[in-house]
């Protein structure tokens, strides 16, 4: 079979309460097949409770050439980082 199916990105929620995370990508002819393929490729060992798939072409990615202006702000603005709060021990996933 010549595989000219489009590429899909797969997001899996590992357990209730956690966010969906990017797990990888795969080929499929349509959304339904992408979902089934994702189930078989990524969650057959109880890795998840929910799957999202989105066709890769719908993702707009930042351009690596723009990394400077995007990701390297000046480092001297400590007030931008919420480091002045004491977090109670009970708060998880922060």
């Amino acid at each position: 079979m010549k595989n000219n199916w489009p590429l899909w990105e797969v997001f899996v929620r590992s357990k209730n309460g956690l966010e969906h995370r990017h797990f990888g990508s795969l080929h499929a002819a349509d959304a339904e097949m992408a979902l089934e393929n994702a189930r078989d490729v990524y969650t057959r060992r109880n890795e998840g409770v929910s799957i999202w798939v989105v066709e890769s072409k719908h993702i707009t990615a930042s351009n690596p050439d723009d990394n400077g202006e995007f990701f390297e702000p000046a480092q001297d603005k400590v007030y931008r980082h919420p480091t002045f709060y004491d977090l109670p021990d009970e708060v998880k996933h922060m």
């Binding site: 079979m1 199916w5 080929h27 339904e32 189930r39 078989d40 490729v41 057959r44």
Partner: protein, 251 residues
């Protein structure tokens, strides 16, 4: 052998899973795409897992010093009770999907009944397997529709597979005389009762898939009595080779 009828009955269910699982595992590394390759071998693993549960129970019932491996590897061709459908070879992807679909539709109906078995172990295995088999049915039905309602070539190939494999469907619903007692006790399922819902379900999917339902009146049978097609010997040669060549070998 003690409990012989029940053991034979378990074989008639478990051998289908074993032999179809073996067929699907032949595809490991040979699927048409990475995704379908994994999906097929995934189903193979589901079926082998189910087989193990059945065989562990059957081995215990023999009351002898037998294990699940003895039952899987050390019987002769005539002692396997699987239907002819599941031993048919992997001709092409459309053929594999059709074989799977025609079996899954039956398998799901069987397990839905078997979960009410008065035998607690059989009922528990059925309950556990239903989730897996529901997915198999969903997967194979979806693919029937894709291929049937796909390109001209995929339609022709899958229609040919339906025409060829249709002749093996009737055997799914044959009860053997040795199963009568098991069925009356409420342990086993009266297969003839599943027939109408089966063909209704199958025809619904085939129609959706724009495929023509064959009008065959002649059906093949024999697997349940141990009389298999010529493909079975080769399959068993693969399956049994290690245990026959190196008896009692362990991993």
């Amino acid at each position: 052998m003690k409990n012989d009828n029940l053991i034979q009955y378990i074989f008639s269910i478990a051998d289908n899973a074993l032999i179809l699982g073996q067929r699907l595992s032949e595809l490991c590394g040979h699927g048409p795409s990475l995704e379908t390759d994994i999906a097929m071998t995934n189903m193979a693993l589901d079926l082998l897992g189910q087989t193990r549960s059945y065989f562990q129970y059957a081995a215990k019932l023999t009351g002898e010093d037998k294990t699940e491996d003895d039952l899987a590897y050390l019987r002769t061709e005539r002692q396997y009770r699987n239907v002819l459908l599941v031993e048919q070879p992997n001709v092409h992807f459309g053929y594999i999907i059709t074989r799977q679909f025609l079996f899954d539709a039956f398998h799901l109906l069987l397990l839905q009944k078997l979960q009410n078995s008065t035998d607690e172990t059989l009922s528990a295995i059925a309950k556990k397997s239903i989730k897996e088999v529901s997915y198999h049915f969903r997967f194979s039905s979806d693919w029937m529709k894709r291929l049937g309602d796909g390109t001209e070539e995929s339609h022709a190939k899958v229609q040919e597979a339906v025409n060829n494999l249709w002749t093996y469907t009737d055997e799914l619903f044959h009860n053997l005389d040795s199963d009568n007692e098991i069925i009356t006790q409420g342990v086993g399922v009266d297969l003839s009762e599943l027939k109408d819902s089966y063909y209704e379900k199958v025809k619904e999917v085939l129609t959706d898939a724009t495929l023509v339902i064959p009008e065959t009146k002649y059906f093949q049978k024999g697997g349940k009595k141990g009389i298999h097609t010529e493909h079975m010997g080769y399959l068993l040669a693969d399956l049994q080779y290690m245990q026959r060549t190196y008896p009692n070998m362990k991993w």
